[in-house]
């Protein structure tokens, strides 16, 4: 009685044979898209960097090193070796000892000194008085007490991306700003998703006058100039990042609502929705079980494209000075600072820009890849 035999047309038509959901097929197509897969990897790296980067980074993003303002990016540790020795000589000159040798070995300074008279162990204090040496101590004293070997710790710091105008490590600041940017992207997109899908699906499904009114509301909000809206929010609520981006999400849902509404209107005429109606399923049930799951494809694609949009928007707002507050930072703030110091410290513009560009490229490529993967008819 079963007509399994009629399965063959599916095979002949080139459709998947068995046990493969829509998502699995989409994933398979995505996997063949090299740009999208590379983007996915980059994105995962970014998320990990945003989550754990600030924890394992050697510097705190807010720590100020007054000695190292606008230090260029380099792999070398600061202070440099050729700076330590003159500094040590300078300090030791006051001890009125004969300095036989000064060596720097990693993080320790080793000084051999001798004198005509017996050396007072308190000479180490001269070293301690300097900013760059700490924990000076005498490790060896000769039997007559006229020559000593002193050691002192040198705090050597690496700023591989350099430091900013206040002497803060740029790498730590980029890591924290990735966290902020991703958080803002996810937050605003999440808000846009929830409001947009609910609004659009309801308007599209109910149709008629309700739809008309709901979509006119969308049109009116569309007409609101965004920057003006953002400034108003800052005026009323102060500079609060989270609030700000809930507000951004509350503006960005408009597109989402339109996309979902369009999808819903075409879905509503599909027979499976009518079939659910004929079963007596309530409007809520139809929306939840039939309409919304079927709009997910375009929604997910739009989401991956909305995240970079929001990140860019945040950068724009921060650039204008309406975004996150010091000492917290975001990629937009870093770039704006970098732009101000472009001549004296080009690396301050370079690294945050690379970070932002990579992130945006990855998200956009992934969005494109997902669109192709979920909607093969378009190709």
């Amino acid at each position: 009685m079963t007509d399994i035999a009629t399965n063959t047309p599916e095979v002949a038509a080139g459709a998947p044979v068995k046990g493969r959901s829509l998502w699995a097929t989409a994933m398979m197509r995505l996997r063949r898209n090299k740009a999208a897969m590379a983007s996915l990897v980059i994105l995962v790296v970014y998320i990990l960097a945003g989550l754990f980067g600030p924890m394992i980074s050697p510097h705190h993003y807010a720590t100020v090193y007054p000695d190292y303002v606008r230090v260029p990016a380099s792999l070398e540790a600061y202070p440099r070796e050729d700076e330590i020795v003159p500094q040590a000589e300078n300090v030791l000159a006051r001890t009125r000892l004969d300095i036989n040798s000064i060596e720097v070995d990693g993080n320790t300074l080793r000084v051999e000194a001798s004198s005509e008279r017996e050396i007072d162990p308190r000479v180490t204090r001269y070293l301690d008085r300097s900013d760059i040496f700490s924990n000076a101590r005498i490790t060896e004293t000769s039997a007559d007490g006229r020559s000593v070997v002193m050691e002192a710790d040198v705090e050597r710091l690496r700023f591989i991306f350099g430091t900013d105008g206040n002497g803060r490590d740029l790498l730590a600041r980029i890591l924290i700003s990735i966290r902020i940017s991703l958080m803002i992207g996810a937050l605003a997109t999440g808000v846009a998703l929830i409001i947009g899908v609910a609004w659009g699906a309801t308007a599209g499904f109910l149709g008629g006058r309700v739809d008309n009114v709901m979509m006119r509301v969308v049109d009116i909000l569309y007409a609101l100039p965004f920057t003006f809206f953002a400034i108003l929010l800052v005026v009323f609520f102060g500079r609060n990042v989270v609030l700000m981006f809930i507000a951004v999400g509350a503006v960005e849902w408009l597109d989402m609502a339109r996309i979902v509404r369009g999808q819903t209107i075409s879905l509503r005429r599909r027979e499976f929705v009518q079939a659910a109606e004929a079963l007596g399923v309530s409007s809520g049930g139809i929306l939840r079980r039939h309409i919304i799951p079927n709009t997910l494809g375009p929604v997910i694609i739009y989401m991956t494209l909305l995240i970079p949009k929001v990140i860019l928007l945040e950068s724009f707002l921060s650039f204008l000075g309406l975004g996150v507050q010091e000492p917290l930072t975001s990629l937009g703030v870093l770039i704006s600072e970098g732009a101000r110091n472009m001549r004296s410290a080009p690396y301050m513009l370079l690294y945050p820009s690379i970070a932002l560009t990579l992130l945006l490229f990855a998200l956009n490529f992934l969005g494109d890849g997902l669109r192709d993967a979920l909607d093969p008819k378009d190709r």
Partner: protein, 544 residues
């Protein structure tokens, strides 16, 4: 032209598609030929590879498809021919018409432009000469008022007229061979008969050969002189139409021939209780009108239709597309706003809202035409079948629902293991079984079946008909069976209503209606459905 000459020769052609699951062999070594001036039919069910052969010969395969073997047209090898040289043959000497007249014309251009452009490109004619030729061609395919039609856009034409335009375009360069890929499948039976008649007449007049691809054996019998029967990418049997239809040798051919729906249903006795009583049901669609204005345009889709359904009865509603039969079915179930009075088991249900209808929904079920569209692609089969239970028996546990799904799947002849799969993994027939299971799981008393078999192959159709019969017997179901296919209605219904443009033209016990149709419209339908050969012999008159 020598009529016996072999003009089109397909030798050992193989078509392979590369899919993520490895290569799929759609056509596995087929030999075929067409002689000048003859009509050859290729018959097979969906997926037999019959269309893919033609796509391969015309260089129209999908990008993941490969064709191997040899196709020659008058000694010229077509496979692997560069596009420019292929274009000199395809579209000029070998032309093709497709199934979908709705989508094969560009909606943005007038008919004149669509016909004359290829003539100008291929024949090198001037614009005015091309226009004259276009007019000539429209006259040739009997389009009424051809001068005016030249200025029309595709949406202003009916399906039959569009298919005529497609044929006109195919004839523009005097082809030797016309490949017709299911040209009438999307059309109503009477229009199908007219198109076939036109093709036969044109063939006689122009002497071209026709290679006709179809799944409909009745067309083949009336239309073709030689037949190839295909199954799973291979030719199972070939021969003259007479041989194939009267002396088939292969089991598959015999099965196809036997797949015509058969049997009949005896009427229920007059005393059987009335389940559903619809009195003067009318449906009006209005369109246009904006936010502030009233609607501008009204269409009466159903007008004053009265119908009485008794327990165990099957009412067949027959009509062509646009006759309002599907609308009537939905109006009775209160899925559309309508006027009139509908009573279910003594309770008036007319005009009840969603919540008010809910208690009755479980007893009044519906199965839709398109088994591809009526199942949500993101739900598993189990979820689809038991969705109704969520509404009508909310106390059932997930486990009990699953048991119900298993039982329903067994009921419709599907393996219950399949309940965790998604609909796109099933064939059309299987999906229609799933749709039926979804209705049956609620144990309804009435099922409205809206063209449940129209999208299916004949052999699958027959299985579905048998399934519906079995379910009716075991549960005492009543059906309202909506179809344009008279053969199916004849087999399944005991009372038949014939509809045209929203009105009932004729009704009565099936046996009576089919034996002695009273109205001209019913007679025309019957002729087109059961006596195609007769229709094709009559002279053509200009209409569509």
């Amino acid at each position: 032209m020598n009529s016996g000459e072999r003009i089109f020769d397909i030798r050992n052609i193989r078509v392979t598609f590369d899919t993520p699951d490895g290569p799929v062999k759609a056509v596995r070594g087929v030999d075929m030929h067409v002689n000048a001036g003859e009509t050859v039919a290729v018959v097979g069910e969906s997926g037999s590879g019959k269309s893919q052969i033609m796509m391969a010969t015309m260089g129209l395969l999908a990008s993941n498809g490969r064709a191997e073997g040899s196709v020659t047209y008058r000694g010229q090898e077509l496979i692997g021919l560069p596009r420019e040289r292929l274009n000199r043959i395809r579209g000029a000497k070998i032309t093709m018409i497709f199934q979908e007249p709705m989508t094969s014309l560009d909606p943005l251009y007038t008919i004149e432009r669509q016909i004359s452009e290829p003539i100008m490109v291929h024949g090198g004619l001037s614009a005015s000469a091309a226009r004259k030729k276009a007019l000539e061609l429209l006259k040739l395919v009997h389009i009424p008022d051809p001068e005016r039609r030249l200025k029309s856009y595709p949406h202003e034409l009916s399906g039959g007229q569009r298919q005529r335009v497609m044929i006109a375009m195919a004839l523009a360069n005097d082809p030797d061979l016309l490949i017709a890929d299911e040209p009438t499948t999307a059309l109503d039976v009477t229009i199908q008969a007219e198109i076939l008649r036109l093709l036969a007449e044109l063939q006689k007049k122009l002497g071209m050969a026709i290679l006709f691809i179809t799944h409909d054996l009745r067309i083949v019998e009336a239309f073709a002189s030689r037949v190839y029967v295909m199954q799973k990418g291979e030719v199972v049997e070939e021969g003259t139409t007479d041989d194939i239809f009267h002396r088939p040798t292969k089991a598959y051919t015999k099965m196809l021939l036997a797949a015509e729906p058969e049997g009949s249903k005896s009427p229920v006795s007059a005393g059987t209780p009335i389940l559903l009583d619809a009195n003067k049901v009318s449906v009006t669609f209005s369109s246009g009108g904006g936010f502030f204005s009233r609607s501008a345009f009204e269409l009466k889709a159903v007008q004053d239709v009265t119908l009485t359904l008794r327990a165990g009865q099957t009412i067949g509603i027959v009509g062509e597309s646009g006759s309002g039969k599907s609308t009537l079915g939905r109006a009775i179930l209160q899925l559309l706003p309508s006027e009139g009075r509908v009573v279910y088991q003594g309770v008036p249900i007319q005009g009840l809202d969603r919540a008010g209808m809910r208690p009755y929904r479980r007893n009044l079920q519906m199965v839709f035409q398109d088994p591809y569209g009526s199942l949500s692609p993101r739900m598993t089969v189990g979820e689809i079948i038991t969705e109704g239970l969520l509404v009508h028996e909310p106390t059932l546990s997930a486990r009990e629902r699953e048991e119900a799904a298993i039982k329903a799947l067994e009921e419709v002849g599907l393996d219950p293991i399949m309940r965790n799969r998604f609909p796109h993994e099933f064939s059309g027939g299987q999906r229609q079984r799933i749709a039926i299971a979804r209705a049956v799981v609620l144990k309804p008393t009435v099922i409205v079946l809206d063209e449940p078999t129209s999208a299916l192959d004949r052999s699958v159709q027959k299985q579905i008909i048998n399934l519906l019969r079995r379910l009716q017997e075991s549960y005492g179901l009543s059906y309202i069976f909506i179809s344009h296919d008279l053969a199916v209605v004849k087999a399944l219904a005991d009372y038949t209503i014939v509809m045209k443009t929203g009105r009932v033209v004729e009704q009565g016990p099936t046996e009576e209606v089919f034996r002695d149709p009273k109205s001209d419209y019913t007679r025309a339908l019957m002729r087109a459905a059961f006596n195609l050969k007769e229709v094709l012999k009559r002279p053509t008159e200009a209409h569509a």
